[in-house]
Symmetry: C2
Subunit: 431 residues, 2 copies
């Protein structure tokens, strides 16, 4: 049994978890799986991080070249993050015939074609289970466990920070800003939370899942992404009164007419299986033509859950190396020339929650109702609340299924009226 040498770039939280998990399981991998895995190099530009790791100082270094130039290293773990140095490092490693395991969702979502083309060219593979849903084996499920299916729908709650914030806003009736601050204090949100709360992180993960499910390249940046920063505590309260909860969803619906992919806050009926996914937990709800609905639920982030996914990828790659089948899971469909056609924003249909802020004067409900009716939009329910201040009141309307562009056009028309006092809020309802 030949030893398989591993190089790790990035000794932060997840890197530390990988060192621990590999150490704890090394004997099992050797004795039970016949895989002798050895971490022979750890590189981080911040030397202070090495002190906390249970490894020999001699394998620690600040120079990524110590991994790239070491021909004995056949698997490289990239945990540096970002799309700058991580990208050139991964491309360089691939060009040198090293397999890559990465947790870097931005890298795969934004530079997937370049990465996979380089891997195919070099005859090596890139594994990225940890990039989506932390320890949940969702990429393996799509690429292997559900390979007998055409997966036509995926809906995910895949960003722990947003789910924590929405859960706390719901439970405590607090506004977004207050809860974000709490989350930052507890370490559930970054000091710079933009990538999480504006939906970018969910977008990266959703783009990756869509590419896997559709068998082609789904470019990040070509589909609508809306975060949770505009969700008012009133919307959460009104949703609750109507029997709904608000979650940030990644939605993928793959039909012959094209791919409907989007990230946005959505209202889910309280009985919906995703409605009870709370706090920092993540869930991926897949629908396949054979299997029906499959839900995978777990911790989508954190030191050890993410390390769990990285280690499972290392074992997969090691099994591939051992059997001399480096490209067990082909990824050459993830090419620029196989870009999947995305249905343009607004061409979809659905049910909508609309919150108008209107003058508390007679005739407003009649005016809005008739405007919607004229546009062919059927109203499922209406809720008018007493005004909070300055004579303006919220008017909540839930529509029946209607074309999104029609609804948005009707809102634009209605907003020209004098009785509208603030921007209208639209939240999609997912069934």
């Amino acid at each position: 049994m030949g030893t398989i040498n591993i190089g790790l770039l990035g000794a932060g939280t997840v890197g530390g978890g990988v060192v621990k998990a590999l150490g704890k399981r090394a004997k099992y991998f050797k004795n039970e799986l016949g895989l002798d895995l050895k971490l022979t190099r750890i590189v981080d530009k911040d030397a202070d991080r090495f002190a906390a790791l249970p490894v020999d100082d001699a394998i620690c270094s600040g120079d990524a070249g110590d991994i790239l130039n070491d021909d004995s290293i056949s698997i490289v773990i990239e945990l540096a993050g970002g799309t700058g140095f991580a990208r050139t490092f991964v491309l360089d490693a691939l060009a040198r015939g090293k397999h890559v395991v990465t947790a870097n969702k931005a890298l795969i979502a934004e530079h997937g074609p370049e990465i996979f083309e380089a891997a195919v060219k070099a005859g090596v593979s890139v594994y990225f289970e940890a990039s989506v849903g932390g320890g949940m084996p969702v990429i393996k499920a799509i690429r292997e466990g559900l390979i007998g299916n055409d997966i036509f729908c995926i809906r995910t709650i895949i960003n722990g920070t947003c789910n924590y914030i929405l859960t706390r806003m719901t439970a405590e009736g607090l506004p977004f800003d207050d809860v974000l601050k709490q989350a930052q204090e507890k370490g559930y949100a970054e000091a710079d939370p933009v990538l999480d709360v504006e939906g970018g992180d969910t977008g990266h993960k959703t783009a990756i899942l869509a590419s896997l499910a559709c068998g082609g390249y789904v470019p990040y940046g070509k589909f609508p992404i809306e975060g949770i920063t505009k969700i008012a505590k009133e919307d959460i309260e009104f949703a609750a009164e109507l029997g709904y909860v608000i979650k940030l969803l990644g939605v993928i619906k793959n039909a012959t007419s094209g791919l409907d992919i989007r990230v946005h806050p959505a209202m889910l009926h309280k009985g919906h299986i995703l409605a009870s996914v709370s706090d920092v937990f993540n869930a991926v709800l897949l629908e396949g033509d054979a299997v029906g609905q499959i839900l995978i639920y777990g911790r989508g982030a954190g030191e050890m859950p993410t390390a769990s996914a990285v280690v499972s990828d290392i074992v997969d790659v090691a099994r591939n190396i051992k059997s001399d089948s480096p490209i067990r899971i082909p990824m050459d469909y993830y090419r620029r020339d196989r870009e999947i056609g995305i249905i343009p924003t607004g061409q979809g249909s659905g049910r909508y929650y609309l919150r108008f802020t209107v003058c508390d004067t007679p005739g407003v409900l009649a005016s809005i109702s008739s405007r919607l009716s004229d546009a062919g939009i059927s109203v499922a329910s209406v809720m008018q609340k007493e005004g909070a201040a300055e004579g303006s009141v919220p008017l909540i309307i839930i529509t029946h299924s209607a074309p999104e562009h029609g609804v948005r056009k009707a809102i634009m028309e209605i907003e020209k009226e004098q009785y509208i006092r603030a921007e209208t809020r639209l939240i999609r309802i997912e069934d």
Copy 2:
């Protein structure tokens, strides 16, 4: 690309699903995965079943020898079920160097060591994803996706028939017998429901999951199995009043002291993640030292969900054949000489729901309370209801955590009293 020939034994419901799914996905497997899979022989003793299949009559036969003696067939799918002919067929196929894919939980649970020893000897593999949880990729999750974890706890709702019956008993307040009859009429329960409702099917699946999680042989028949036939509608009602639901669980807790494995009805708090798994749905809740809790939820049975699992196994085996690595996932630990030590029944601890049926006379509560107290069993809550008939009343007690054998001994002592009118019911509470 060489064609991989497949032989199918069993053209029933699942067999038909496999034929359909393979046909639908063949082009994808060939073009995208480079796997040319061809179903070249279908065997069933009931020739009437062939008519419904979209295949050439020439590949259909009533003689299993047509698969076994055909050297061009390298993958055999066993969907005959049972442990009689299926066992000899699988052993014969393995001895001839054919890989086996099976959905047969009884075969794996009761004859696993013999099967896997034969596979190791012949240098081929046995895949059995469809044996547990239908289309849910739970075996793949344990053996691959969560390989970086010591999985120390698994709790499952894994029998759709029982879950459907308990869900309907809860929703409609009907007794077991009435709901079983309904389930049989709807096709959710077999004409002979014993293997389902007495817990045997859950036991088979739980034994398989335990073997995978523990890395050794967990023999079916050496751990307690209790079905749902004794669950009274009163127990479901009282559970609901106390904030619980009753589910049939497979429980696996692996500790250094040994393996605690059992199948029994259990009370779950309404907020428990498994409590909301209803109707015919299945769920497997895994806990690993790195990943924490992972839930996989879906349809655990039926034509296409089970076919989905069979097809994913076929693709895995085909990938192994293509890469000339027949035993990618070693199963040689599943041996008789690696039997896992099971903690004897009653040596565990837990919280218990006790329903005594007592005379409606003064002093009974005091007597039972003091008996339990004398035995060191602490009472968490008590509920006494008005009597239904003949002066007997139900007295419900929820205990704090206590050793099971102590609780059972105390019940035996209490049952010697004159005021006891019927057998006492004990249901474990899972946290």
